[in-house]
Subunit: 315 residues, 2 copies
DNA sequence: GATGCTTACGATACCCGTAAAGATA
DNA sequence: TATCTTTACGGGTATCGTAAGCATC
């Protein structure tokens, strides 16, 4: 048993059991891949893959259980690399943060300059993606820190920490009749076409829920990935917008008006998500601490340690 | 980086950094060991061992952290083997139980015949050792299940489950004046020389504590590892004995009398201990369930999963 | 001087990639 | 037929063990 074999097993599962693709992904020949799999199966004395003739279709039961362990081993192998870097270059390296558009654009700008000042030699990669991709990037180890408002819980291999709380707000073109409605009500909003976030993004679920609870069916004429797009179409008169309040910039959005409505849709919490068992460099902990001073290295490590590393639900 | 290198790193730490010994332990040449270490250090770019000239003295800081991860990896590598066996020979294999004398002799006999009947093809190894050795055998993976009354908690890498509760009792030669003292008191006991367990064994701590709390200093004339020895010397008239009550057999110990004293020393709980992260074959879970029906596989797996796999206190 | 680590070197085994052959869709 | 996997084979590399050279105690 060697690491190359384990990498091949993992990659095979990721590549839908296409060994040619595995060979490409691991920069080696397909024949070598095939042989490695055969060798490992021979050594262990168990078929790991379900075959139909020569084609691989999936994992057998033992293969599935083995893959779990293999992923832990390879995760730890990666951790060794990070760990060693931590000692050889204490304040150098790479930190990959992956966040939704809203967070990348309106929350993280408060943190990143400060981080860069503290760790000028750390190459900071700021990815932007939807919640699902954030989860998969964290799980695969491509990203170190995830920031999003939804879809991060319920993933047992991730641990989440509250970052900050925010509210939705309504935006309207200047002079819109809603400006005079006080307090705002869901009924009042529902009289106008609404432009807001896509489903599964930036608290959209809360908006839908609030309307549903009130027995109102709003007319969502358009949904977008980010507030900038929403603002653009509200300016064009397509309707009123519902966005995260921090996305409104009074200095720049001069043609729009922000109407507070914290009472209508409830509070949203944005979370920082980490992959359990993924080694974090010290500067990664510092990044998180800059986001929220309560989340210091000791606190986070304690939390990561007190939670399941091997979850029974995964089996 | 390969598994042999990792095994060498771990073994070096276990062998007090004597590479010759490592070579022997791993059935390879010492020169190969030396080269593997050098290669790994070169690959990682970090010194893992503290050297004085050519001799290795210990681990560096990164070496220590690395060793932790290495041990996890090798544990998982072992788990792969167990896992595969679980599928290839479902009810065959080996189960190593390590217990103190008292448990091996007086508690497990109720369980083992039943287990053997259920799993005739499983080779059951029943080791006997003191609490400290039990811990180290569990940690090293040499044993699957540990059974003891003390010293198993406070080891973060182990998880413990209550097995059963028992009490101490006093044994005296037939016709001894203590037979007529009712109820028994610590003062009454302290008037005679006492023979009991060694320190750190079979609830000895509770005995000492009870006397100390009462401000009494008993005369312990002899201490032994097991109740059989204690009984022998009590029969010889060396004093009265304090043993675990289940160690008394009225049919065989005809020259002795058992005096109950549950009120004097309090209850003792014997625990089953498992190494977190160590893969257990299904028959291992069945063994535990035979010990205590409450401890079924689902319960145990849930507990093992809900607890720290990587403990911050170890760092 | 005994023990223990490193380096050198030759034999072996392992790994990789090309190429050909067989299987599957 | 095109795609994919297995098997065969040759070149290269890594690993291993012996032996010699040094450092440490």
């Amino acid at each position: 048993m060697n690491f190359q074999q384990l990498r091949i097993i993992r990659e095979a599962a990721r590549c839908n059991f296409n060994l040619t693709e595995v060979g490409n992904a691991l920069f080696t020949s397909q024949s070598g891949v095939s042989k490695h799999i055969k060798d490992l199966e021979d050594e262990l004395g168990v078929e790991l893959f379900v075959r139909k003739g020569k084609r691989l279709l999936g994992l057998t039961d033992p293969g599935r259980e083995l893959l779990e362990i293999v992923e832990r081993i390879l995760l730890d192998a990666n951790n060794i690399k990070s760990l060693v870097e931590q000692y050889s270059k204490r304040d150098e390296g790479q930190l990959t943060v992956i966040a939704t558009h809203t967070q990348a654009r309106y929350a993280l700008p408060k943190v990143i300059p400060e981080f860069k000042k503290a760790f000028p030699k750390v190459h900071l990669k700021l990815h932007q993606a939807g919640p699902n991709e954030i989860v998969s990037m964290l799980l695969s180890g491509e990203a170190d820190i995830g920031v999003a408002t939804e879809a991060l819980h319920d993933v047992t291999k991730l641990d989440t920490f509250p970052y900050y709380t925010w509210y939705h707000a309504v935006i309207v073109p200047a002079g819109h009749p809603l400006e005079k409605v006080q307090p705002l009500t869901l009924q009042a909003l529902a009289e106008y076409p609404i432009v807001t976030y896509h489903e599964g993004l930036t608290g959209r679920a809360k908006i839908d829920q609030s309307f549903a609870d009130a027995g109102i069916t709003p007319e969502i004429v358009m949904s977008a990935l980010d507030a900038d797009v929403i603002k653009t179409y509200v300016e064009l008169g397509m309707g009123i917008g519902i966005i995260a309040s921090m996305a409104f910039n009074p200095a720049k959005d001069t043609d729009l008006r922000l109407l507070k409505c914290e009472h209508l849709f409830g509070a949203n919490t944005t979370y920082i998500a980490l992959r359990r068992g993924h080694y974090l460099r010290s500067f990664a902990y510092r990044f998180i601490e800059l986001c929220s001073p309560k989340l210091d290295e000791v606190t986070i490590r304690a939390r990561l340690a007190t939670h399941p590393a091997i979850n029974i639900a995964d089996r």
